[in-house]
Symmetry: C2
Subunit: 147 residues, 2 copies
């Protein structure tokens, strides 16, 4: 079993990053404009939609300014049941964001694609919090023929 792991540093307070990971407007500002639901309460469901489909996440854990944990409950077969965690830690002027997307059954080509695309969206999150403007779908950076 393999995991997708990433790390970015955002020049902002942990609370600002946490807001971008839990508020509907925050999530819509870096991942996809078409975001609905409740990311700011445990057991809340958030629906993220893209041109090619989408994901429904249930919020499993929230520690303000420190941690967000989602489980995928609907979406592509390879994603269902996987978990996505965000751990935030202040490091000087930065908030270091440790990202994990775990529970993949096989390291299929789609997983390779998602790994790279997550990095692109993490850079969008960083830009949103630092500058007020991210690059969420449908304005996201395209990486391959799958989008």
């Amino acid at each position: 079993m393999v995991d997708i792991l990433h790390k970015v540093g955002v020049k902002a307070a942990p609370e600002a990053v946490y807001e971008a990971l839990t508020a509907r407007q925050g999530l819509a500002g870096w991942w996809t404009n078409d975001t609905q639901g409740d990311g700011d309460v445990v057991e809340g469901v958030v629906k993220f939609r893209f041109d090619a489909g989408g994901f429904d996440m249930v919020v499993l854990d929230l520690v303000p300014g420190k941690r967000v944990l989602w489980q995928v409950v609907d979406g592509p077969e390879e994603w269902i049941g996987t978990q996505i965690s965000w751990d935030l830690e202040r490091d000087g002027d930065y908030t270091e964001v440790l990202f994990k997307h775990v529970g993949w059954q096989e390291p299929v080509d789609f997983m390779h694609h998602c790994s790279t695309k997550w990095a692109v969206y993490l850079m969008s999150l960083k830009q949103l919090v630092e500058t007020g403007r991210g690059a969420p779908s449908p304005h996201d950076v395209k990486i391959d023929s799958w989008d």
Copy 2:
């Protein structure tokens, strides 16, 4: 043991991507300007240098237009002995690049950082081949306090 996996699609022929992964000028155009050595022969050694240090790779396998395999022989302790493979496959107008960096002993924070940074450099590779201009070190996109 966990691996770093990525995928990008480059709108170009496999031969053009292969050139960017094997010719000194190609490698210097997307990863780091300070690239020395022989990436175009099996058993060749390539020395990649950055502000904060660098990596020496030995070329283990080359299949023109299809595959490149490196092993890290010098650099940060976590990298030594790890292998980096590039598999190229034509898909319509694209060359799909499957990237793997395998052999990490532990999923340390540095591995999270390297995963995201590889994605950034893969986008630089894509830009170089598609437009003639990548973003190699020291002009690379910065992702966190580690660079």
